[in-house]
């Protein structure tokens, strides 16, 4: 069972690449370790560097199904783990009539039939290989973290009326976080940690060309060049990979054959989402034009 994910870091890198996700060495190694040690993987990094995409790529490359739990403020047990279908239970009680003893009915209404499974429980109960993605875990309240602890360390869920449900097959768990809140030590201790950062120019070029195959090679080189320069400026939000890819798509759609300064200035809105960032970038580009 341990070998069902990846057999080695190289294997991980190769298969993720085949699934359309270009990794660096550390990412491939950590993905391999997460599978081999059966530990959850906590991925942190700026928005748009491919944290969620990593989980999807793992699912694609291993033929597993992706179960996703999107976290938000106010997420609770009923929406993350399980819930009793109380309307159906009510119907069942009304339908049973007077001829059935209460104790029988009571046993009856707390069974599988009346259980609504939510992402965490369904990921654990699946027999097929599963990738469980807990997205933006930093958006939840602290209480939900406590809920995650049992799931993450023992891969089991305790339902008071039914007993403990253990995983027959441990899912590959990926948690993503934007670090808007510090996660508790207890959660971090149970996870492997991976920080995804902006890639180097070469890898970014490879990513852009693999995502947007239509783009001209020369334009791709110029595009990555500009994006790398933009990241060096002090911006509120530096452009990430997702934005470079968007920009590449835009340029293809506009049929741009050469990324000159005018085109950059016109399409800057695709990569920079703050007015002050745009002003700053334009200022730097003007400097360039003056020479």
């Amino acid at each position: 069972m341990t070998t069902s994910w990846f057999t080695s870091p190289d294997d991980a890198a190769r298969r993720l690449e085949a699934a359309g996700y270009l990794t660096d060495d550390a990412t491939a190694l950590t993905a391999y370790l997460a599978g081999a040690l059966e530990k959850p993987l906590l991925v942190e990094g700026p928005a748009g560097v491919g944290k969620t995409e990593l989980a999807k790529a793992v699912a694609r490359s291993t033929g597993a199904e992706l179960v996703r739990l999107q976290c938000y403020e106010g997420l609770d047990e009923a929406r993350a783990l399980y819930e009793w279908n109380y309307k159906k239970q009510l119907l069942r009680i009304q339908a049973s009539g007077a001829d059935q003893a209460w104790s029988e009915t009571h046993d009856d209404i707390f069974t599988e039939e009346f259980l609504l499974t939510r992402p965490l429980l369904s990921a654990i109960r699946r027999d097929e290989p599963t990738v469980l993605l807990v997205d933006e875990v930093d958006k939840t309240d602290v209480e939900v973290e406590g809920l995650l602890l049992e799931v993450l360390s023992d891969f089991q869920v305790t339902i008071p009326e039914m007993g403990t449900v253990s995983a027959t097959r441990r899912p590959f768990v990926v948690l993503t976080s934007n670090a808007s809140r510090e996660l508790s030590e207890a959660v971090k201790r149970r996870c492997l940690f991976l920080h995804l950062d902006y890639p180097d120019a070469e890898r970014e070029r490879a990513i852009v060309t693999s995502q947007v195959p239509d783009i001209d090679h020369r334009v791709a080189v110029q595009l990555v060049d500009v994006v790398v320069r933009l990241r060096e400026l002090e911006l509120k939000k530096a452009p990430s990979i997702a934005e470079s890819v968007d920009w590449a798509r835009t340029l293809v759609a506009l049929q741009v054959g050469d990324l000159d300064e005018e085109t950059v200035a016109r399409t800057l809105g695709v990569v920079l989402k703050h007015a002050s960032d745009q002003r700053r970038a334009v200022k730097e580009l003007k400097l360039l034009a003056a020479r």
């Binding site: 870091p9 060495d25 550390a26 190694l29 950590t30 391999y32 370790l33 081999a36 040690l37 530990k39 906590l42 942190e44 403020e73 309240d141 670090a179 808007s180 809140r181 510090e182 030590e185 971090k188 201790r189 996870c191 492997l192 940690f193 991976l194 920080h195 320069r229 060096e232 400026l233 002090e234 509120k236 703050h274 007015a275 002050s276 960032d277 002003r279 700053r280 400097l287 360039l288 020479r291």
Partner: protein
């Protein structure tokens, strides 16, 4: 040392450097190492990093400690082998000339491996500090860098890069980055040699710098300051997220009897759900008065940036800077303004805030009270930033007491360690008796304080 000893020593060193590595994580690291090949040092590093480092700012510290415990090579390595002491004097003019030529070439081509080899050789050749006995000799990155002086190669490197078809600005930037890289390599290699000589525990305890959020403002280098500046916005965002959450938790105010009774009619007069009045958020108006003289300028800038990044949490913010005269800088922080521009304008305002250029708290406080008597009112809080080092001048304590008395709250943030308060020309003790003085030496403490006052 066995492998296990090294591992345990490594984990201990990480703990003493401020990373909280639990026993379970250490075990995780070992089981992770069992699953990977050890022929590549970077693989081992990545396996350790995945299991032990759970916070990105700690990564720098981790890398430094890792390099000490799992060194790249032992002794001079291949590149430094011919620098054996049998050769007599290894440090000759001819050798220096040759090394600098090779370095210029490596820098021009950006060849990492060659740069690393040259760094090793530079330390081996020029950084040795012979001691009187075994264990007393040492290695110095400073001496090596002084001799090789890579910065002098800057112009040549820029010319070379220009010839490669880069524009001037980029050539300058690339050259600066490569030379910085080489400097770091030399520093790293000197640490490695010292660790070999004196044992890794010694080096880890002495040379590893604290993580950026725990680094003292006053001890920060230029590069650290830039990094801190990048940290300000994420810090503000985290604080804002925390504040909203806490406000949500406290949103339920006193019972709204009227609405509760009305709602209870639907359930036959039984108040099943209670309704509450929303709590009115209390917003303070903040007046920041900060010392921007050389010694504490960076601290004042960080605090101002953080306060203004969180401006929506306050009712209003006014900022004044002073050296020996007071100047208002509130307008500099327009919403959505560019960080770099704000910094430039701030530094420009320093020249307005100085008359004679020597810090004079008494004078500055008096001028503030005279010129902006309307700034402080019963709804506003006063925040003074500075080290309280007033060049033995008049302190104007009554003026400050009057200001603090008129304000709702008053605090004084001091970037110095409390043990330095009141030493030399520091008037921190006298001022501390008038307004509560808070120690604020790094980003973590700053974040905590700002969170408190909001």
């Amino acid at each position: 040392m066995t492998l296990l000893d090294t591992h345990i020593g490594f984990v201990e060193a990480l703990r003493s450097a401020g990373l909280s590595v639990s026993l379970a994580e250490g075990l995780d690291a070992i089981s992770a190492l069992e699953r990977v090949h050890w022929h590549d040092r970077e693989t081992v590093r990545a396996a350790y990093a995945a299991t032990l480092v759970k916070r990105q700012p700690q990564r720098v510290t981790f890398d430094a400690v890792f390099d000490i415990y799992y060194p790249r090579l032992v002794g001079g390595g291949v590149a430094g082998d011919d620098v054996a002491p049998t050769e007599g004097v290894p440090d000759t003019g001819a050798q220096l000339q040759r090394l600098r030529e090779a370095l210029a070439e490596a820098l021009a081509s950006g060849d990492q491996q060659a740069m690393q080899d040259l760094a090793v050789e530079a330390v081996a050749r020029f950084g040795a500090m012979p001691g009187r006995g075994p264990g007393l000799s040492s290695w110095s990155a400073y001496t090596s860098l002084q001799r090789v002086s890579p910065a002098e190669l800057m112009d040549r490197l820029v010319q070379g890069l220009l010839a490669q078809g880069l524009d001037e600005e980029r050539a300058q930037r690339d050259a600066g980055r490569r030379i910085g890289e080489f400097t770091r390599m030399v520093e790293g290699d000197a640490r490695r040699r010292i660790a070999e000589e004196k044992g890794p525990e010694h080096v880890a305890a002495v040379t590893v710098r604290p993580t950026i959020d725990r680094l003292d403002f006053t001890a920060a280098r230029r590069s650290d300051l830039e990094e801190m500046r990048r940290e300000i916005y994420p810090l503000a965002r985290r604080l804002a997220a925390r504040l909203t959450k806490e406000q949500h938790a406290r949103r339920r105010g006193p019972l709204d009897v009227r609405r509760t009774v009305r709602a209870s009619i639907a359930t036959g007069g039984v108040p099943l759900t209670t309704h509450h009045r929303p709590r009115r958020p209390h917003r303070t108006e903040l007046v920041v008065l900060c010392d921007v003289s050389g010694s504490v300028a960076s601290f004042a800038q960080f605090t101002l940036m953080l306060v203004f990044a969180l401006r929506e949490a306050f009712g209003g913010v006014r900022a004044f800077t002073f050296v020996d005269d007071v100047v208002e800088v509130t307008d500099t922080f327009a919403p959505g303004a560019d960080v770099a521009e704000v910094m430039e304008q701030l530094s420009a305002s320093i020249s307005h805030a100085a008359r004679f250029g020597r810090t004079n708290y008494g004078r500055a406080l008096t001028r503030f009270a005279e010129e902006h008597p309307d700034a402080i009112g019963p709804r506003s809080s006063l925040l003074v930033l500075g080290d309280g080092r007033s060049n033995y001048s008049d302190l104007a304590l009554p003026v400050l007491a009057d200001l603090a008395g008129r304000a709702r709250h008053a605090w004084w943030l001091n970037p110095e360690h409390p043990r330095h308060w009141g030493t030399g020309d520091s008037a921190a003790d006298q001022y501390g008796a008038v307004v509560p003085m808070v120690e604020c030496r790094n980003l973590t403490q700053l974040g905590e304080f700002v969170h408190e006052i909001v």
